[in-house]
Amino acid sequence: MLRFGTLSISVTTDKGHFGLRHSFAPGMNILRANNSAGKSTVLRSLIYAIGLEGMFSPSQDTPLPHVLTDYIDLPEGDAKVSESWVSVELSNARNERITVSRSIMGTTDRHLISVRTGAALTDPDRAGASVDYFVRTPRAAISSRGFHNLLAEFMDWTLPKAAQFEGEDSPLYLETLFPLLCVEQKLGWGRIPARFPTWLGVRDIRRRTIEFLLKLDAYAIAAERIAVQVELARIRAAWSDNRVLAGKRATSMGTILNALPSEPVTQWPPEIPPQIFLASGRDWEPLPAHLAKLLLRQEELRREPIPTSGEDDSETRTALRDAEDALSQREIVLRRTLENLEAEISEADALQDRIASLREDQRKYKDLLKLRELGSTNSVEIETGSCPTCHQPVSDSLMDLGQRAVPMSVEQNISFYEEQFLLFQAVLANARAAISASEAQIVAMREELDQLRARVRSLRETLTSASNAPSIEALSERLRLEERITNLKALTTFFQDTLGTFANLTDEWNAALDRRRHLPPGTLSNSDETKLSDLQGRFQNQLNAYGFGSSDEKRVTISRSDYEPELTDINLAADAAASDVIRLQWAYLLSLLEVGVSSSSNHPRFLILDEPQQQSVEDANFLEMLKHAASIPDCQVLVATSHEREGIAALAAALPLIHLWELGDARLITKIG
């Protein structure tokens, strides 16, 4: 909540001291004066005092008239302004008070606002010391010494982040919210619901401001929706990274990782558990089975003593012949696999070429559609379906299709190409998978070949070495086995760790999906809907009371997507009468205030309307609006008007709730001393 108390404007000139002092009361305040008495100056000074003139325009110039900045015209000649100040007392929901003062003209920096705790104007003895805060400088909105931070805190506002059109997020600036709380006379009227400062570059400014003022959950829901999307994308990326990493590690050891889902899953382990396979010849064997075999063999070897080379000469020879046979046979298999791989790669290349040319043709067809459009605007219609000379039917093809074939229409052809494109993409993905499987197989085969060669070498060495020496082949077989087992065990450990990672990712994935499930189906929560229908009801009632004539007021509803008034059958801005636009604006801003007062909201419970009787709205409607505004409890409404004196006086007499500040023919800024 924010409430304006005593306002003081002081102007020092070469012809003495001028100024004004006025205390605004809680509730309805009407300032009535004739034209050019200075009503707008008073209301603008309030906004200037709290450093929010940025809501009117991006300009850094003082938005106040010459009376406060340059000269005061007096019958005896102009009085030159040398210094001027505005101060105002503010109070909040906890009944705390602060007094803010800002220089308008003079030597003090206009970017500074001095703040004193307490009511420094009416009770200066008990007010605190003055502390300076910044406004309207870069980063003033986020700095701890920024006045708007202090003001937001004073009003118990926690400003949400708002997306900017460019750059990073900013806080939802106070300048974006105040147009819904203060309508300025010259530019503020005639915009539904308000004239927002678009120059601040805040995205979705209309929605964000209403969402904040009415404390709608919509913003939080939208933010949560985006956060969930980001989280899902993160998990998906982590999943795919880990999968690629695991696949590479497996391939480098001549193994292949199978059945690891390519996308995050909700159940871990999946029904078909991921496994590592080893190529053995042309078949694949699971890693644990293979490892068990190797361990068994190791155990066998451990049990028998290492033979010497002399003992088993004939046996060694047989073993050597077998090993050599196996070696040449495996070499043939490898060569064939390599040839296969070659073919697969060239197939993938051909597919890629085909996809590229499909893309090219797709582009040409898109151009073709544009060409037709261009042709028809230039009265060149090339494809008419008939011959331009003899008017017999002619197909839309320059190719001889034979007598009966009919070409597809351009649209059919485009979707045909689209399908082809998707098909070839899928085939290409398949071909790539086949290539990587072949590559893994080749790595495995090469490893096997290396082992066979080593075996042949050591068998030969065994045959030529001294007969009582231990068999070199027997020794090196043990060593090879040892190394292979170590490597595969390391791979197993790595694989187990990786599975753990995937299990964690699955948990995170489920959590994110759960968050997504808990989001409401639409953009609004139930309490949002209650507030908005309350707003709509009050809004429609007021339209009726203010004599809205452009349409049946029941057809003017509050949009659930941008919270603005919308009409089912006419465009509001274009079709509503100018005076009805003013009625819409009154009704909307007052309803917003009412809903703000009657429900849990961030509405600061005040409204400033400068000369609301625009576009010759009938007097009766205007007085009705004032009456309605006066009836809203627990808020402060400041209205400045030049409406004729008797009408306002009669209204104020009838309604004791109205605090009338009647100026008569006098001016607001007068000589003090």
Partner: protein, 163 residues
């Protein structure tokens, strides 16, 4: 359990109908495409919007695909043997020329030459102004410009090396 015939018979026992499916054709074989290309060749690459058939065919073959464009530019800009770029007469292009003439977008002049008409120029001008249509083709034609003379076209066709 029903016999297989019981299940399939009702489905098969229907009168057969054959429907002619339209066939897909490459965008190059659409009249709009080829005629637009023809007009652009005349407008961008020909002096006075006028050219011989032979020369039009050479440039059409060069602009057809990015691959052709690349081959042509290699031959044209680099002092390379001519066999890198082989020109073929494309029947579809000849038909496009006939259609364009029938639509008064081009006209025959001086017996064996083709010239773009006012209507053709307006249309070609609109395509060029729009800029985004036939982007790669237009860029290529602009690079080539009016540099290919009738004499060059003959040489390209007969396979003689360009001096």
């Amino acid at each position: 359990m029903p016999e297989l015939d019981d299940i399939t018979a009702p489905i098969i026992d229907l009168p057969f109908r054959f429907k002619r499916r339209p066939i897909a054709i490459a965008p190059d074989f659409r009249k709009d495409w080829k005629i637009a290309l023809l007009l652009l060749i005349l407008e961008i690459c020909s002096r006075g919007g006028k050219s011989s058939l032979k020369r039009l065919h050479v440039i059409n073959w060069a602009v057809r695909t990015t691959h052709h464009q690349h081959e042509f530019e290699e031959t044209w800009n680099v002092d390379a043997p001519l066999f890198a770029f082989k020109v073929r007469f494309e029947p579809a292009f000849s038909r496009a020329i006939e259609f364009a003439e029938a639509q008064r977008l081009i006209a025959w002049v001086e017996g064996d030459r083709v010239q773009i008409t006012q209507l053709g120029r307006t249309y070609a001008g609109a395509i060029i102004k729009k800029g985004e249509i036939l982007g790669t083709e237009m860029a290529f034609l602009k690079r080539v410009g009016k540099s290919v003379t009738e004499f060059d076209a003959t040489k390209l066709l007969t396979g003689a090396k360009i001096a």
